[in-house]
């Protein structure tokens, strides 16, 4: 992995372009990335029934193939150039698999601990075979002032009647460049639930490409973010409905403070033939400083009549009524802002069931708020 440098990438491209003056059609990564492969990973817990690595499972001819389905055909949400970057940077993928019919409630937890100047990219493949269920919780962390690069690509295949719960917690230092590239395919009645906590990093690029291929397959995504100081967060979600009666529900909530910059692109693509499909997305952004910049672009593409698509966005400061209510109860304006920020982020955090992960998030947020 060492020495595989990079100077420029176009990532998080919209599936349909709009005015160039908005500068939201894609994002440009212009930092040089020199990978050194340094990163400490720790798998805390491997529940019974979950197989890790290319363990020669039945029906598997390597980590690129699951019962005839080519994992390489799954595209990540960050786009082709990011995909090429991961392919060049990583020779192997970490494969996590639940075999047919195996349902595991206990979470598999992976921690990636990075230090200053660490620069690493990893690839993961998570497979839930027919009627199986698994939960994977992963966090990436470093010291608050550390810098470096951490990129993770996660490809998921959700088989018939299967379910994957994926939790990603990003707590990297303020000088880290971070890529999080997710690509998923859901077969008939397959379910994917994602919880993403984008709290750290200096510049973070997050892309999700969820393809609801099978009948009644569904996706539920909840993302919370906190951008303070000079943090920049660029998100691109694409949910493609191809199967009949597929459904998705994407909620993205967070707060911007100081000089933070955030872009959110969320596309629901109701393709021809996806009769009975329903897609909805919601974004809530709390703006807490005069120099913040927020870009929001919720897109619906509709090529089928027997569908329902909707999106909503609410962007703004704390309402005068809420502020007045809190101040009348003795809270300062700053305390009120912190309380409401916590409320937004915790509404997503509370969906996580792993106590250790919750503790890490809590610790990170208390530290961040103590320095405001």
């Amino acid at each position: 992995m060492e020495g595989k440098g990079l100077t420029k990438l176009h990532v998080n491209s919209l599936p349909t372009l709009t005015w160039n003056f908005l500068k939201i059609n894609d994002a440009k990564v212009e930092e040089r990335i020199d990978l050194n492969g340094r990163c400490q990973s720790l798998i805390h817990n491997i529940p019974n029934g979950i197989i890790i690595g290319n363990a020669g499972c039945e029906g598997c001819s390597g980590c690129d193939n699951v019962n005839g389905f080519d994992i390489r055909s799954i595209n990540g949400g960050m786009g082709r150039e990011a995909g090429d970057f991961f392919d060049k940077a990583c020779e192997d993928s970490l494969v996590i698999r639940a075999k047919k019919g195996v349902k595991v409630k206990e979470a598999l937890c992976i921690s990636y601990a990075l230090k200053d100047t660490d620069s690493t990219a990893i690839k993961q493949v998570i497979v839930a075979e027919e009627n199986s269920e698994l939960t994977v919780v992963m966090d990436y962390s470093s010291g608050v002032s550390d810098g470096g690069f951490f990129g993770v690509q996660t490809k998921l295949y959700i088989g018939k009647g299967a379910r994957i719960n994926l939790v990603k917690i990003e707590l990297l230092g303020r000088s880290f460049l971070h890529f999080d590239d997710i690509g998923a395919v859901c077969d008939d009645t397959g379910s994917l639930n994602t919880i993403q906590m984008e709290l750290g990093g200096g510049k973070s690029y997050v892309g999700s490409n969820i393809f609801l291929k099978g009948y009644k397959s569904n996706y539920k995504g909840d993302t919370a973010y906190l951008c303070i100081e000079d943090q920049q967060l660029d998100m691109n979600y694409y949910i493609g409905h191809e199967g009949k009666k597929t459904s998705c529900d994407l909620t993205v909530k967070g707060a911007l403070r100081d000089n933070a910059v955030k872009s959110f692109r969320g596309t629901i693509d109701l393709k021809k033939g996806a009769k009975g499909a329903k897609g909805q997305e919601l974004e809530e952004t709390l703006l807490l400083s005069e120099k913040v910049k927020n870009n929001t672009l919720p897109v619906i593409l509709c090529d089928e009549d027997d569908v329902e698509g909707s999106h909503g966005a609410s962007i703004g400061r704390l309402s005068g009524d809420i502020l007045f209510y809190m101040q009348s109860r003795g809270l300062s304006e700053k305390d009120a802002e912190i309380l409401m920020t916590k409320a937004k982020i915790n509404s997503v955090r509370n969906l996580i069931t792993d106590d250790k992960s919750i503790g890490k998030i809590q610790h990170y947020m208390e530290d961040a708020f103590s320095r405001l």
Binding site: T16, L17, T18, W19, N20, L22, I24, N25, L256, L270, K272, K275, T285, L287, L288, S289, E290, K291, V292, K293, N294, N295, T296, L297, P298, V299, I300, L301, C302, D303, E304, D305, D306, V307, E308, G309, S310, H311, G312, A313, S314, I315, G316, R317, S319
Partner: protein, 469 residues
């Protein structure tokens, strides 16, 4: 079992699809060259600055690229477009003096009747030139100026035109703004003095008769401090087998505490590329209201924009788009908040059927200076069959914390639940369907003057058949 659907007829265009020979007209050659631009400038009796402006615009046009977003316009070949067609008549203030075939055209479109019954003034453009312009005496006595652009440019209002012409929409804005700057002709100039409230609307009607021609009219409206105006724009053309182009430009200056309502019923023929640019700027306390109905054209790029420069300025955009067979209509609005406490509201509806493509595209930009501003966007799309397409692409670029922005959008077909609800209250099924579809278009039609609401309802002839799907 395949569900049945509500049948909604295409827009009835029969009243617009008639044509007259253009053999007596003067035309420049097809294509776009410096010689053609100079010929138009000479024909229009341009002052020197305008001639230079046209030539600079042509330079900009040649440098700019076609948009890399939006509907395909590869079927539009500028080498085939005639940019200036002058009908064989001069502008008149009397219908009696207008040549018979042109007069018949506007009679069939109902323009003279509308003037008599409900308008304060009318301008009628046929191909590249105004053929009729008249304003009621009591309105002109208030100091309101309503004239054709050429008269304004070459007469006593030249300086006012020079101060405002393509200052809001500079030729560098996009390729078709540059094209407009180079070859514009026709259009209207309106000036409303301070404090004057024009009680009944003014109207301009644009008719493109010549095949393979472009229409590039320029509308410049200045509403002074405390003044009030409703301006209506209508446009249509007969259908030909060759591409026609409309690349007009509308610039609206709304003064302090002034109000302007700009209503458009666009019903170009389905061989038309409608690449029109409309922009308004509002000073302190000023208000712009756009009412827009887009029914015609083969391809449309249409996004009226409002620059809310002054504190407490306000903009509203209410629009409906109906995309039928062979149509790709990309419509929406842009709002730019600059002034404090500025506010904007976008409310759009779109209907797609018979393979039509309707795209709602918008942007709301709130600059750091726009403290305490508010913006709200609501868009709804109705899909009437599974061979059509409807997309929404709304962007919000917010650069201050002191703003409140709300957005909501929905796409789908007529809800079974809504039909059931109405039927459970005793309303027959067909009536229930009719209520829902006409209710969908209601936010736009209720904003139009009565005569135009009737026209719009004629345009969307809703015919309910069978059960709802």
């Amino acid at each position: 079992m395949e569900k049945e659907r509500t049948e909604v007829n295409d827009v009835d265009r029969s009243m617009y699809d008639f044509r007259y020979s253009d053999k007596d007209s003067y035309k420049v050659n097809e294509g776009l060259t410096e010689d053609i631009v100079l010929t138009i400038s000479k024909e229009k009796h341009d002052p020197e600055w305008m001639k230079d402006f046209r030539l600079k615009s042509l330079e900009v046009y040649n440098k700019l690229k076609l948009p890399d977003w939006g509907p395909d316009i590869s079927g539009l070949n500028m080498d085939d477009i005639v940019t200036y067609v002058r009908p064989n008549t001069k502008m008149s203030a009397s219908w009696e003096e207008v040549p018979k075939d042109i007069k018949d055209t506007f009679e069939r479109l109902g323009i003279p009747q509308a003037e008599r019954s409900s308008l304060a003034g009318v301008g009628a453009q046929y191909d590249s030139e105004l053929v009729y312009h008249n304003v009621k005496k009591e309105v002109s006595e208030q100091g309101v100026i309503y004239t054709d652009m050429e008269s304004a440019l070459t007469g006593e209002y030249e300086q006012m035109v020079k101060d405002h012409f393509m200052k809001l929409v500079p030729p560098s804005d996009h390729k078709f703004a540059a094209l407009h700057g180079a070859v514009w002709s026709g259009g209207s100039f309106v000036y409303v003095p301070p404090g004057v409230k024009v009680e009944i609307p003014l109207q301009s009607y644009f008719r493109l008769n010549a095949p393979g021609a472009g229409q590039f009219e320029h509308t410049l409206i200045i509403v002074s401090e405390g003044a009030d105006l409703h301006f209506i724009e209508g446009c249509s053309a007969p259908k030909y087998n060759v591409a026609n182009l409309h690349a007009g430009c509308v610039e609206l200056y709304v003064g302090k505490n002034a109000r302007l309502r700009y209503s458009t019923i666009e019903n170009w023929s389905k061989n038309m590329y409608n690449l029109n640019t409309k922009r308004a700027i509002c000073e302190e306390g000023g208000s712009i209201e756009w009412i827009s109905g887009s029914f015609g054209s083969h391809v449309s790029y249409l996004y009226p924009s409002s620059i809310l420069k002054g504190d407490d300025s306000h903009a509203e955009f209410t629009g409906i788009t109906f995309a039928g067979k062979g149509q790709n209509l990309d419509t929406g609005a842009k709002m730019v908040h600059v002034g404090k406490r500025s506010s904007s509201y976008i409310n759009t509806k779109s209907i797609s059927k018979a393979g039509g493509i309707s795209t709602y595209r918008s942007s709301v930009t709130v600059l750091p200076s726009a403290e305490d501003s508010k913006a709200s966007v609501s868009c709804a799309s109705l899909m009437l069959d599974d061979i059509s397409r409807s997309d929404t692409v709304p962007a919000m670029d917010i650069r201050t914390d002191k703003a409140d922005i709300g957005h909501e959008a929905k796409i789908g077909r007529i809800s079974d639940d809504a039909i059931f609800y109405l039927m459970s209250r005793g309303i027959p099924e067909d009536d229930a369907k009719a209520m829902i579809v006409s209710g969908f278009a209601d936010p736009v039609s209720k904003e139009l003057p009565l005569e135009y609401a009737v026209e719009m309802n004629n345009l969307i002839q809703l015919e309910m058949k069978g059960a709802i799907g």
